[in-house]
């Protein structure tokens, strides 16, 4: 009996969301009186994987098969299923990412496991039940879900739990092979295209986000958003109408029908705060709203607000951030 944690890596490094997942897994293992083993996917280095000890992982399995560098649904599923059997894991924990959720759903069928995605808290085990809290109704509510059966899979929402760091602890990195064959790579991508990230910060992983709406008036004014984002080290985002008219790329669109973000800080500039927009951002820890209309609904969901013109306020904020040094 152990806990298996799926750790996603890119460019040799463990993704931030996977550090959170590793900590989560170590805590679940401690609750159950067992240890947490990780299986790494993507491009990793042994040195970086060993640092997962800081999150409480005791052992890391790594298959250096080069074709596992990019996401291949079937191959990843088989790899993790094989590791699950080897480790006799009863609980599998992944990130609720496009990779984690896609693999988790296939695994749940293959391993006959119950599955909860979009999980926001550590499980509770009372009265012999295993209960996890997950986000539902697009961020408007939570549901406490009872997972039944011998095996359970949990996909943890990004930024909903904190990655712990116990400096100096290292994990043992062991090579592992699932004996993957060509057939397992039949659904491999023929091409992978990465976006140009303004300032290099990826929106789904970002701690800080600066977002613009129709109040920005046109794509030519996005320099104001980008400069503040750059000064803060934040990612940029936008409302749906902004991406619908191609002022910004679709992958920046947040909300009920876009991506859901839960950064530590979300700064909304010239966004009215429609219910569908709020659904994608209301689990942010701190929300700042800049809008010239004091009646804009977004102020009701905000922690801090400035009633004013974005064209006047944004340069002041950028200057103030730079002055912090």
């Amino acid at each position: 009996m152990s806990v298996l944690v799926v750790v996603e890596c890119a460019d040799g490094e463990v993704k931030k969301s996977s550090l959170e997942v590793a900590s989560y897994g170590a805590e679940v293992a401690a609750m159950l009186g067992t240890t947490a083993t990780a299986i790494a996917v993507g491009e990793a280095t042994t040195a970086n994987l060993a640092t997962l000890g800081e999150q409480g992982i005791s052992k890391v399995l790594y298959d250096a098969e080069p074709r596992l560098k990019d996401f291949v649904n079937n191959a990843y599923t088989k790899l993790i299923a094989t590791a699950t059997e080897q480790e006799q894991a009863k609980i599998i924990i992944l990130a609720n990412s496009n990779i984690g959720a896609a693999v988790g759903s296939r695994l749940s069928v293959r391993l006959k496991a119950s599955l909860a995605t979009n999980v926001v808290e550590l499980p509770k085990t009372a009265d012999g039940q295993f209960v996890v809290r997950r986000g539902a109704f697009s961020g408007k509510a939570f549901s406490d879900v009872v997972l039944s059966g011998d095996r359970k899979i949990i996909a943890v929402k990004k930024n909903s739990t904190e990655a712990k760091h116990e400096a100096g602890k290292t994990a043992e990195v062991t090579s592992f092979s699932a004996q993957l064959t060509d057939a397992d790579f039949a659904d491999a991508p023929t091409q992978v295209v990465m976006q140009d990230q303004a300032g290099g910060v990826l929106l789904p992983e970002a701690d800080l986000v600066v977002s613009g709406g129709r109040g920005m008036k046109g794509p030519e004014n996005w320099g104001l958003i980008e400069e503040l984002a750059k000064a803060l080290g934040a990612a940029t985002a936008c409302s749906k109408p902004v991406s619908d008219v191609d002022w910004r790329p679709h992958h920046e669109h947040v909300g009920q029908t876009g991506i859901t973000v839960s950064p530590n800080l979300y700064i909304a500039c010239g966004i009215s705060g429609a219910i569908q927009h709020l659904a994608g951002v209301n689990s942010s820890k701190v929300i700042v709203v800049i809008n010239k209309d004091p009646e804009a609904p977004f102020f009701k969901a905000a922690d801090y607000g400035i009633v004013g013109d974005v064209f006047d306020v944004l340069p002041k904020l950028t200057a103030a951030v730079k002055a912090l040094g």
Partner: protein
């Protein structure tokens, strides 16, 4: 080409979410239900691909009780040819996936399209489960889908980029923008939808593996602290010293 489009029946995006007093069930009173917005991409793209090929059929499938039929008829009005409703309350994703997999297998569908996720339970999982149950690939979430003979080329969104994936039929894909411009029903569609076949079948398979014990609403915000626009720089100090987020 036989397309199967799976639609879930969800509260309208403007719905204020509330629960029954014991927090055990979603309070449906006064709530308008719509076709899950993501599923509209799946439906429209299936119709477009059928039209482009000049042949084929588009079947819509919902797992739900009789009250979902108005939205099934709406999908028929948008342009699906026929519909199937599995007569059961959708208890969880696994249960729903079993129903979809059984129908897909029996009808030998070539392309099974879904939405990225259902906006009520936000599972992002039914498509992966169905693919695994049928032993075929799932591409989720797909931003683009083209067909040439039996080969599909898709763009799959990954964090920070996209993958180009090529798969043969049969396969499952879950759709999202900017795949197409979702269609709305026209008068002729609404008229013909009334007489298009809607078959009701009973559920199969094992019981659900998860159950909701209770719902909860997020904690309310304390109220907004306003900073004077003239003094905007003050906000940055508060974010550092008070909120401690920068």
């Amino acid at each position: 080409m036989k397309f199967l489009v799976c639609i879930s029946n969800v509260p309208d995006t403007t719905t204020k979410i509330t629960f029954t007093p014991d927090n055990k069930e979603f309070n449906k009173a006064g709530v308008q239900f719509v076709i899950n917005p993501w599923d509209e991409y799946a439906l429209t793209r299936a119709i477009e691909l059928k039209e482009a090929a000049g042949s084929g059929t588009v079947t819509v499938l919902n797992v739900g009780e009789a009250d979902t039929e108005p939205n099934i008829r709406k999908a028929l009005a948008i342009g699906a040819d026929d519909a199937i409703r599995v007569n059961a309350a959708p208890q969880d994703a696994y249960f729903v996936a079993e129903q979809i997999a059984a129908i897909a297998k029996e009808g030998a569908y070539d392309v099974i399209l879904m939405g990225k996720e259902s906006i009520d339970y936000n599972g992002f999982q039914v498509h992966g489960m169905v693919g695994e149950m049928l032993g075929i690939p799932t591409v989720a979430p797909a931003m683009k889908l083209d067909l040439s003979g039996n080969t599909a080329t898709l763009e799959r969104e990954i964090e920070g980029g996209k993958e180009i994936v090529s798969v043969n039929t049969p396969f499952v894909a879950s759709c999202q923008q900017p795949m197409c411009e979702p269609r709305i029903p026209n008068m002729r569609g609404i008229m013909t939808a009334r007489t298009k076949p809607l078959k009701v079948v009973e559920p199969v398979g094992e019981p659900a593996r998860t159950a909701v014990a209770e719902f909860a609403l997020p904690a309310k915000k304390q109220g907004v602290k306003l900073i004077d626009a003239e003094n905007a720089g003050e906000l940055i100090k508060l974010l550092r010293n008070e909120a401690k987020v920068i």
